[in-house]
């Protein structure tokens, strides 16, 4: 979904740049509360993983492909603010080093692929975790669904920018169904990768998964320094 230069006009690209900068600034503050000695390296790893996964275009219908966006995954694993930063780091590296995603379009790309996916994904995730039983499979199912929804949401965010600042005059009645249709399919791939990754980390270190904080922890026979437990909000 990397938007190249020339799709969105200059004024709207600048506006998107301001939205992206504000989103990153807020996230830099919010991420401090999400990161500690254990989760900071995990967040770095998550960024590397999202970069790698974004190289893996999988085929969807009719000669079209898609790849992981990763915002929902990162938000569940390391927290929504950190998740926004994780995908932003990936997008900035891709635009500057790999010429993937335009430079004037960077604000659009960060807004659409980092901010929208992490926020929508985390919102859906929290909602589901609240109503589902407090178990690990619930966390995986919630992450799966969050990722599923995050991709069409991201596509619609692009359409919103296109509606106000598109350099071409394709009617929205054409753009919306086309973008929605293909990105619902890509969302299925996003959901599968996200569900698999979250369940894998849950299987080995459930204590590290941000979205699983507050789950009852299994009894452990190791001696560990006492930590103050915060009740789940």
């Amino acid at each position: 979904m990397h938007v190249p230069d020339g799709f969105i006009d200059a004024p709207v690209s600048v506006t998107a740049g301001a939205i992206a900068a504000a989103g990153i600034a807020v996230s830099l503050r919010g991420a401090r509360r999400e990161l500690d000695d254990l989760t900071a390296p995990l967040a770095g790893l998550t960024a590397a993983f999202v970069f790698a996964a974004q190289m893996l275009n999988f085929p969807v219908a009719g000669g079209t492909s898609g790849h992981l966006l990763g915002g929902a995954l990162a938000a569940v694993l390391v927290g929504p603010f950190t998740g926004i930063l994780v995908v932003s780091v990936v997008l900035i590296a891709q635009a500057l080093i790999f010429a993937d995603g335009g430079l004037t379009a960077l604000g659009v790309n960060i807004t659409v692929m980092a901010i929208v996916t992490a926020l929508v994904g985390y919102g859906v995730f929290k909602l589901l975790v609240k109503v589902l039983p407090r178990t690990r499979p619930s966390v995986t199912a919630a992450a799966f669904t969050a990722a599923l929804v995050s991709v069409p949401a991201s596509a619609m965010a692009f359409v919103a920018f296109y509606a106000v600042g598109g350099t071409t005059e394709v009617p929205l009645s054409t753009v919306i169904p086309a973008m929605l249709g293909v990105h619902v399919l890509i969302g299925v791939g996003e959901a599968l990768i996200t569900g698999l990754t979250v369940s894998s980390v849950l299987a080995v270190r459930p204590d590290l998964v941000y979205g699983a904080r507050g789950l009852a922890r299994p009894l452990r026979l190791t001696v560990e320094p006492q930590k103050t437990e915060e009740a789940a909000a």
Partner: protein, 110 residues
Amino acid sequence: MSMKRLLALGVLVAAVLAGIVSYYASSSPDGLERVAGDKGINAKEEEHPLGDSPLADYGVKGVEDERASVGLSGVIGVGVVLVVGTGLFWGLRSRPGSREGSQSKPKTHS
């Protein structure tokens, strides 16, 4: 699983995905490219200003073998993102002691 083990395993998985599996990724246009091409959203698309850079389009300039070129660019990307990301998040983390009051001894980390 220890944290060190988990991180090592994670980095290995990312490196294998970007360094080896990426060669087998679909080369079809992605969802946006497809819709943009079909419907004409891309009529005014511009060349990427850094399109001639050494790693542009996930290949290493000068490496002829396609498999090696994609794989190497992927591994470099994983390395760069890992270092930049970990550096950023390590710098942002809340330090133990700042909240709980117990003074921790200064840590040395590479």
